[in-house]
Symmetry: C2
Subunit: 259 residues, 2 copies
Amino acid sequence: MENIIKSKDNPVIKLYQRLSSSKKERLEYGLFVLEGMRIVEDAVREHTDIRYLIFTESASAKADQFQVDLRNTKVVVISNELGNRIASTEKTQGIFAVCAIPGRSSMKLSENGKYVVLYGLQDPGNVGMIIRTADAFGADGIILSGSCDLYSPKVIRSTMGSVFRTNILIENDTEKLFGLLSQGGIHTSAAVIDSDAQNIRECSFEGGHAVFIGNEGNGLPHDIAMRCDRRVIIPMKSSINSLNAAMAAGIIMWELCGR
Amino acid sequence: MENIIKSKDNPVIKLYQRLSSSKKERLEYGLFVLEGMRIVEDAVREHTDIRYLIFTESASAKADQFQVDLRNTKVVVISNELGNRIASTEKTQGIFAVCAIPGRSSMKLSENGKYVVLYGLQDPGNVGMIIRTADAFGADGIILSGSCDLYSPKVIRSTMGSVFRTNILIENDTEKLFGLLSQGGIHTSAAVIDSDAQNIRECSFEGGHAVFIGNEGNGLPHDIAMRCDRRVIIPMKSSINSLNAAMAAGIIMWELCGR
């Protein structure tokens, strides 16, 4: 076992904190952080490139459960006090990791693939829950465009490990995004709340298909909705309030992937 | 306009804070709190019994927008500093209310009604999102049994006003709950993750029907699941992880209420 790190100025501690709080630092280092037994286990199981496994003294007995290649992964033990300092949860399990961000700039689209495009989603909890649901329903991929940072701790935590099992592309350039879908022969639908859109219960999703879902407050921009092959709507009985964006995406994936 | 309240020891301020933080106090007083322009508007629109409307100095110009009966509702103005003190959000809009908890101990079940029973749900965000979704899909009622407090500020906030438009019963006694459903001629399904349960896509929900949804971590207790008329499952392609409870409830209500 390593010496126990006790100083808040230790480079690993400082790195973890920078990555935890700043998107800019995550991009610069190409690294992101994990916290918690289960999600670190998921990362190990899915062969994520883990640079540091960090345990508090109290949690260090569990280190042996993680079968990692020690040539690539450095295991460090920190004081419980430091664990509480870097934790984002109130009662931390004392298990943390620093991982390399995998390449997310290309995605091979399959002929009959079912995709969801998150266009301008800003709530990390929503994005995480959508990725978790995509994993459960077997969507072929999620494309983030102009949405919040996939590697923020809150998104990662909300995915409950599905971030490691789901095919995810980040493409912030709208022209490239439509070009990619078009080249792949993927049909497109825009999820809207206009009453003249097609009822999603009655839509066919044969062949390759991507459904665009817009921002929590504003929905999809009009030009993006019109650029899609068709507009679809989740019919609602209460007109006063719309569905939460993650719930809407869940219903869409249920219809898209399940038939 | 009233005098501006500046003291943190003012009885209205102390009442608001007690109701905001303690289920026990909410039960004792029979009151709960609201925060934010939109949800207070919803409460007024749905004729909720509002005892106090509270505005910060900065927000007090908006007081006239709320058409309340001033014989029942007292309007008070507080300093901006006190507004920040009692707010549960970081950037408060400075609009608060104290409302009476309506009776939730009985519910008239309709012959063809579609109901969801939340049995032991503990996450306020989940319960709120389920109520919001029930409103959107037109469920005939939500029954809370052994779940978290409906009137906690986080549940109320997550419903986005749907708490005022949705038929909600609180029945923590399991015997009474099954008795009520049985007397109403309501069929029951238990949402489970056992592979021999019936695929929810293929289920009929004709007539009156209630679907039981269990706790986030543990699901439904076995005896409750067996006591329902049948067991249903949302088929999933990824076996590693289950759906979020609110998402599962949303898919169930989509199938239950929409066909």
